[in-house]
Symmetry: C2
Subunit: 432 residues, 2 copies
């Protein structure tokens, strides 16, 4: 029997992340009655009615209105499509209207979720092993996973309450240069990061863009959670503030529509150097589309049609599509923070504290003891409550005294009861 | 304005392929009345009725029959799903029944088409820049593209009428060893390759497996076109003959169902070395699923449900699902070869000849002159017929005196008229 020896990726760096997620699933399987603050998945109530037909029909009407025959439109759902995507015009118009991102559809690529967008952007931008990626830290595992898959070195830059430690970013640029390397790009989720929950202030956004210009740094902006801002409280995205095409903007419909579509997008209007006009790609989006043809060929036209139809049903507005969902998550986050205050505020053992994000899905709790899998097992078995150890979101093994709570998947009564159990668990088990 | 300097990949090796496809699209756009033998896409008549709802409902019934509540089943369509896939059991059962591939569902990963499967397998298997990939040559651009994206060196091994030049493969293994490198795996499509059209004989399959065992070589088997064999004439796949788990089998529903689903799969039942039991991944499929979480997270559950429902509607049989399609392509291929005989057989200029595959989508024609983009332009503008230059399928720039004809996308009258135009074009333009 053949035994395959695989890349060292899987033996070392990879295993803890895999182990952690597997462990969570396994723990959840063994304790089906436990209340879980672990999944960062959209609330079931936000999932669309099983009326895929209505959404695809809506999209097909749009295609016919733009000049295709009904038969041509129908075929779009079933045939291969352009690597660049089918619904670029609808998405570009939504971002222009709702978010002030005025970039033509040709600079968009529709991807299999935000994850594929990250992989494509990293593959396009990172030219040699001398290039380094900076990430806001703690960091979403999707970007560090994509970097690992491509053997790209990553350096963390601390998130702060205000957004990002810009001095640390500047130092990281200098340190890379001193080592003969280049800090090529920064990955950051300025609007309620996962897992940090931080939102970058408008001033910090402006200073970050100025720093990026000084250091000739590209910015990968992940906007998965921007829609969760309270009504009227949204800040302009980095891309909306970007006057020199320094920001590559990544979005997803996993939370504003539904994850099962696996539809995301990337806005990449950067001019590509080294090609004469008419020779080779002109825009970064062209390069990403070509790379995409080597990864997934194209994003499922069927999925794109459903998402396009949902957007059109909401007047082509992302804000309209996500308004009810945003309200639900705002409510859940308020309930989670209020329950933490009520159950833990006075009586909490020393060393327990948490952040107070005003949007997003996540709250971080610091403990006086390691939030490891052994502690999670006790929490699940004896107290019936689950959470995510934060260690996997740190590059350097720190963060092991933190856990992440997600408010997104639970109902109000589950949040209340879950926090009651959590408070009991923390009081009894971490005060020693 | 920022100008981005991208990876050298795009400047050199990449550009010709991109250029060629772009050029074809562009030529087709300028000559909408031309008959095109270029697209290797499924025939529009094989695309399913726009009844996505029926197929997803069929899948949901299956899930409920296996113990889920209707609400749990419905959520499956919309939520994140396991990276490994949702329809592994249905696909594994179909391959077991129809193709004699007796591998449990846990060794399957459902991918975003065959393309993602290729990328995942290459990323898992190729451990260092010393590892080399052999490909049957001429070669599908999907595998060479994935290798290029991952910076994997590729060596071509000639296809023969019988399948593959096994002596050349053995020599390539030895040459790699002599250079201190390892020929790690061979990519081959034994059942009607794209673009070669070759089918490997049963004897050649057996000798290839024996050679792979001697040389400790893994085999990536791409089975996109196996279903096009004449009724009763199918040969066992390499995976069906594989007694020592040496074959990684890649399939797609792009041709047997429809491309717009973007659903493929990989069978990877290899044991992974270096992990103690219970520690780390045990099967190659586990590793591929983890890598997939860094590429696309999971294949759209909606797309998987449609494909699963289509399979179930055909009694869970791949053969039943693809029977009518197979007959259509058999008919088209016969018509194409008969028309070539009729219009070119006697009167063909010296140096024009073609192969006679008995399955697949493609016929190769050798010309006495270069089949380049200039010649294609003449063919389109003056004769109203399009084809694909073969050069892009060769690693070494050979193949430039060949063109590829696809029979898959055309109706019988278009094949007849197209070959009439092609014969006129070849007689007038290549006899000089």
């Amino acid at each position: 029997m053949v035994t395959v020896h695989i890349d060292r990726l899987h033996g070392s760096v990879q295993a803890p992340v895999l182990g952690s997620i597997s462990f969570l699933n396994e723990v959840m399987g063994r304790h089906p009655g436990a209340i879980s603050f672990a999944p960062g998945a959209p609330h079931p109530d936000t999932l669309p009615e099983a009326d895929i037909q209505r959404h695809t029909d809506r999209f097909l009407d749009h295609v016919v209105a733009r000049g295709s025959s009904p038969e041509q439109a129908r075929r779009l759902l079933f045939e291969y499509g352009p690597s660049r995507g089918l619904i670029n015009d609808i998405v570009a118009e939504a971002l222009r209207r709702d978010h002030g991102v005025d970039v033509p559809p040709e600079s968009y690529v529709i991807t299999v979720g935000a994850q594929e967008a990250m992989l494509l952007v990293l593959r396009a931008l990172f030219r040699s092993s001398e290039d380094v990626l900076a990430v806001a830290h703690p960091c979403f595992v999707g970007i560090t996973g994509a970097a690992r898959l491509l053997d790209i070195d990553v350096v963390g830059v601390a998130e702060t309450a205000d957004g990002l430690d810009l001095d640390a970013l500047e130092r990281a640029c200098g340190q890379a240069r001193a080592a003969g390397r280049t800090l090529r790009a920064l990955y950051v989720a300025p609007d309620y990061s996962n897992p940090g929950g931080s939102r970058m202030s408008l001033d910090c956004r402006r200073r970050l863009l100025a720093l990026a210009a000084r250091e000739d740094l590209l910015i990968l902006e992940d906007n998965a959670y921007g829609f969760t801002a309270a009504a009227g409280a949204a800040l302009p995205s980095l891309k909306a503030l970007d006057t020199e095409r320094r920001v590559i903007h990544i979005g997803t419909f996993a939370k504003t529509a539904f994850p099962g579509a696996r539809v995301g997008f990337v806005v990449a209007d950067q001019r590509v150097g080294g090609s004469a006009p008419g020779e080779g790609p002109e825009r970064l989006a062209d390069v990403l589309a070509t790379l995409k043809s080597m990864v997934t060929v194209n994003t499922s036209p069927l999925s794109q049609a459903v998402i396009g139809g949902m957007l059109l049903e909401h007047g082509g507005s992302l804000d309209a599509l996500s308004r009810a969902k945003s309200a639900l998550y705002q409510r859940n986050l308020r309930l989670l923070l209020a329950a933490l205050d009520r159950h833990l505020g006075e009586a909490a053992p020393a060393g327990i504290r948490w952040n107070r994000p005003d949007g997003g899905f996540f709250v971080r709790v610091r403990l006086p003891v390691p939030a490891d899998t052994a502690l999670l097992e006790v929490s699940a078995a004896d107290y019936g409550v689950l959470w995510t150890p934060m260690r996997q979101f740190y590059l350097d093994g720190t963060g092991d005294h933190q856990l992440r709570l997600s408010c997104s998947y639970l109902d109000p009564d589950e949040i209340e009861e879950g926090v009651r159990r959590l408070a009991l668990f923390l009081t009894k088990e971490t005060g020693r």
